[in-house]
Amino acid sequence: MKRLWTPVSMYWRLALVLAAIAASIVAGLLWWADGAWPYSAMPTKGFVRTLAFSAAAVASLGVSRLWR
């Protein structure tokens, strides 16, 4: 039970940061591919929101890691 309440391990945290960055990369590729709007498969709004969530995720996990 105690284990359940332990903050995520370093490896999991790293995986989550990579997942956040990957989301931004995927959104960016979809947004930019084929010449951006109106040809892209991702509107600018979607790209910006994905970037915002990813950045916030990295920041949040970073704060958690740094708070020893």
């Binding site: 979809l30 109106p38 040809y39 498969a41 949040s60 958690s64």
Partner: protein
């Protein structure tokens, strides 16, 4: 649990949720998955997928007056009469002013920043947007055609010259809520293929404005349904007529096509019906015949009843391809976030084709673009248009 651990746990949980949110956002906005989201959120299957029974039951022939060659010519004359007060478009109408070589001469831009700051969606002006075009290797230069309609309304058309022209003029008519500068990638695609492009904005957008502010409501308001001026439809069609006349008489163009987006699609439909020199027309997401409309699908500029009394939308479609050499291809976005979605436009395709056969007309097609859920001309659509323009079957 110690406070510090709890604090870290909060940020860890928040981090996990934010990573999930980032991926959910990707799939929420990615066109391919967004289509499923929109279908799932739709109020009924009739929004995007199924066709309403009353629409299925309607007969397109009931909304058409054209029955033979004579009636087609007569109805085109009626349409011209409503727009210009004459049975034929005036082929002598020319732009009031031609501002040449904007890229080379670089006009003064002192008035630009304030306009862009106020409203960059609607007031982007050609001489302020030249930076978008200066890096295009295939673009030779840009002229601006200025046409005055009535006492105060000024309309501007940007004439984009490719370095290697193929002898075809393509008119690009934009609609509400943006300017053709926002569609610059479409214009670039056309320029790269060698087409000379005449780009026009909707009334009140870009450089299209009323000279005197106190007249604004009356002349510029025509685009929003205030039709209390003589021959109000001139504000939409006279600038295009002048541009076609200029291209034909001063520049020698005989091959003319027109692409229109959103409200510009409706303008394209009418212009191709009334001016026989437009051999290819491609209205995109721009209208729906009244008997197939859902609530809110008739924008104010389409509410001028005399125009539709002269020629129903279906009659206009027939007129747009009424000669063997002429063709109209209408494109609708099945999952359009704005309007004219669904596949209902296919319901009148056969009736229009049959009418074209009856009068010795050309080709009419309706295409449904299901590649995205936006209100736009997609890559798929512009690729089709470029391929169709390049077929080489011009008269």
């Amino acid at each position: 649990m110690r406070g510090r651990t709890r604090f870290r746990l909060c940020f860890d949980v928040l981090g996990v949720l934010l990573v999930l949110a980032a991926w959910v956002t990707v799939f929420y906005y990615w066109d391919s998955t967004r289509v499923y989201v929109k279908r799932w959120k739709a109020d009924s299957p009739y929004v995007y997928d199924e066709i309403r029974p009353e629409h299925l039951a309607a007969d397109a022939h009931d909304y058409m007056k054209i029955s033979d060659r004579d009636s087609a010519d007569r109805i085109r004359g009626d349409l011209s009469q409503v727009i210009w007060g004459a049975r034929q478009p005036d082929h002598a109408l020319m732009p009031d002013e031609v501002r040449r070589d904007l890229l080379e001469k670089r006009p003064d831009t002192d008035d630009c920043p304030e306009l862009e700051y106020l409203d960059n969606e609607t007031l982007l002006r050609l001489h302020c947007q030249l930076h978008r075009y200066e890096s295009w290797q295939d673009l030779a230069d840009i002229d601006e055609l200025v046409v005055q309609v009535g006492p105060v309304y000024l309309s501007s058309i940007g004439l984009f010259y490719p370095r290697d022209p193929n002898g075809v003029l393509v008119i690009f008519q934009n609609g509400y809520a943006s300017t053709y500068h926002h569609q610059y990638r479409h214009i670039h695609s056309l320029i790269q293929a060698g087409y000379t492009v005449a780009a026009a904005n909707h009334i009140g957008y870009g450089d299209n404005h009323c000279r005197q502010p106190n007249e604004l409501a009356e002349w510029c308001g025509i685009g929003w349904g205030n039709f209390n001026k003589p021959l109000p439809m001139r504000v939409h069609f006279s600038p295009l007529l002048a541009a076609i006349n200029y291209a034909e008489r001063r520049m020698g163009f005989s091959r003319i096509a027109m692409i229109g987006f959103s409200a510009g699609g409706w303008i394209t439909s009418v212009m191709a019906a009334v001016d026989e020199r437009i051999d290819r027309s491609y209205p995109v997401a721009g209208f729906m015949p009244p008997y197939l409309q859902r609530e809110g699908e008739r924008p104010p500029d389409q509410m001028y009843d005399p125009l539709f009394d002269a020629a129903s939308m279906l009659d206009q479609f027939v007129l747009a391809a009424d000669r063997e050499s002429r063709r109209q291809v209408q494109i609708f976005n099945q999952y359009d976030r704005c309007c004219y979605e669904n596949r209902r436009a296919l319901l009148y395709e056969d009736a229009i084709r049959a009418a074209e056969v009856g009068i010795g007309g050309g080709e009419f097609r309706v295409l449904i673009d299901d590649t995205h859920p936006q209100h736009k001309i997609s890559r798929w659509a512009i690729s089709f248009i470029l391929e169709d323009l390049g077929k080489g079957d011009w008269p």
